[in-house]
Amino acid sequence: MSRARPAASPPRASMLGAALCSARGLSCGYLGRSVLAGVDLDIAAGEVLAVIGPNGSGKTTLFRTLAGELPPIAGLASLRSPRGLVSVLDIPRRERAGLVGRVLQSERPSWPASVRSYIEAGTFASTGWFGSPGVWERRAVEEAIEATELGPLAARPVTELSGGEFRRVLVARALAQKPALLLLDEPASDLDIARQMDILGLLRSLAASGVGVALSVHDLNLAALVADRVALLSRGRLAALGPPREVITAEAVASAYGASVIVGDHPVLDLLQVVNLPAWLKPREESCD
């Protein structure tokens, strides 16, 4: 390992803008049953925030609450609107859709609509029930198609796309909303490693263009790869928040997941790398090294 590590490609932390979204003392959950409590969190323009945590730790619940789909049980969730930071509950549904775009994990299309018309649904917030997409909306759709490189697929039925292609369509539809903030549920799950790198690369380039990006992710190495900051949810609270190296430690992973890992250095890049060390596998003998 004599090769020098190139610095991580994106210029990080230096270009972070104003908070697009803010949680203060936020408790969220369903019908009074709290999943997360006491969350203080800002998401800034131009950053990628990875939200990690075990199954059921509240990643999706947090996104739903930040997007205003789920009313907070306590505390405040606010979004940056033209009026400044405003509580999500005080922003009408359609205005909200222009501030924050979501990509859901398990969306399935019902009908074989074309890719372009599926993406066009992202303009609903600006056209409403009766309007049809005008010049502004059509340009938003075309820009979204261009940013996600879906041009060649634009006329294809969404029901015939592969998992990776459809995930890009969902990102494109969220972009057509022209939101300042994107919340993505497990955008890399169910994808092969090349498609995972495609979608994460797309998220990094969106952040470089000034969008605030938050994604939930299970694979800690992907989190370290893409994120400027990592938020670890564990035991009903925000257990840690900061740069990947500060949050993803062997102790934190053991405490949150009950999993034994080694956190080392990426062999090539200036990144951390997480290696599993399950109890049912014996470590190699020293002599084998």
Partner: protein
């Protein structure tokens, strides 16, 4: 445009068939004879074409009203099917998924149980109560689904629809068993038919059907958005609850209009949207009117077939739609794409 031509062709063809077959030329002459007003009618008499006069009577007094009524009922069922398939995001949903048919049947049974002597009043009561029963069942189903407090009220709608439908259906069977005197009348009413329907019946059904179609058209873009799923649609800015309420109201109103006019006619509301989806694709802005047109054409053809196949005996039109509709539906299913998502 093509839909209008198809509609006109089906209307013309439907007017030709029946116990006394007419040629298309006779039908067109008969239609024109009275469109010219009283002067035109006088002209026809002066020509002394007695056969044309008979044809005009058959067309105007017997066939046109019932054929148009079949068209209106078919259009209402087709549009209702498209709206409910859009709401449930399921191509197998039909206008009766919310228990509307059994509600209408219960209303009809109740009307017959009143034992009204006057035939005109009896028919009015039958149509009125079946209409009320249909809407009542849908309202009950909607209320149950809302009160269930589940996080997926649309799924609750389907389940409540099935449960309420079975319950009301069993109630109808119970009443019919206890009052066997009315058994046959209820039975034939349920099988559906447009025999003996008049301009008055058309006037009674038209307002609800037209209103339901207009509300359905308002739902076109929301139903497109809903195709992404409820959570995604909500994050796109759609008020899903309002969409759901309007979709239930519009489809139930249209279905109630159709059922009270012609009985419980199956497959039209299922097949109409499937044909329409093949022709114009899945976008609801074109799919809903196309489904209405397809439903109208299907039911007018079915009504013509019901009059002609075993003439002079008239078959129940619901029997015709089921006998021809079921195989047709299976054929359509076999054309679905590998994802099982196609038309």
């Amino acid at each position: 445009m093509a839909a209008v031509l198809l509609f006109a062709a089906a209307l013309l063809a439907s007017l030709c068939f029946g116990a006394a077959p007419l040629t298309p030329g006779q039908v067109v002459r008969a239609l024109l004879s009275r469109l010219g007003g009283s002067a035109g009618a006088g002209g026809a008499a002066q020509d002394g074409a007695a056969r044309d006069f008979v044809a005009a009577t058959i067309v105007w007094d017997l066939r046109l009203a019932r054929t148009l009524l079949a068209g209106v009922a078919g259009a209402a069922l087709g549009a209702a099917g498209a709206v409910l398939q859009g709401l449930f995001r399921n191509p197998l949903a039909d206008p009766y998924a919310l228990g509307v048919s059994s509600g209408a049947a219960l209303g009809a049974v109740a009307a017959l149980s009143l034992g009204i002597a006057s035939p005109v009043a009896a028919v009015t009561a039958l149509q009125g109560l079946s209409f009320a029963g249909a809407l009542g069942a849908a309202a009950l189903v909607y209320g149950i689904a809302r009160a269930s407090g589940r996080r997926a009220p649309t799924a609750a709608l389907l389940l409540a629809g099935a449960a309420v439908g079975s319950f009301l259906g069993a109630t109808v069977s119970l009443i019919m068993t206890l009052r066997q005197r009315d058994l046959q009348r209820v039975f034939f009413w349920l099988l559906g038919g447009f025999g003996g329907k008049s301009w008055g019946d058309l006037a009674a059904a038209l307002p609800a059907a037209v209103f339901a179609l207009l509300v359905s058209m308002i739902l076109a873009r929301p139903l497109d958005i809903l195709g992404s799923g409820e959570e995604a649609a909500s994050s796109l800015g759609l008020d899903v609850a309002r969409t759901r309420a309007l979709a239930v109201a519009a489809s139930s109103l249209g279905t109630a209009a159709a059922v009270s006019a012609g009985g419980v006619i199956g497959f039209v509301g299922l097949l109409g949207p499937h044909f329409a989806r093949l022709l114009v694709g899945p976008g609801h802005r074109r799919l809903i009117p196309a489904s209405a047109a397809a439903g109208a054409v299907l039911l007018m053809i079915a009504d013509a077939a019901a009059r002609s196949i075993a003439a002079p005996i008239e078959l129940p039109v619901g029997v015709v739609t089921a006998i021809f509709g079921a195989p047709l539906f299976l054929w359509l299913l076999s054309r679905r794409g590998p994802e099982g998502q196609g038309a």
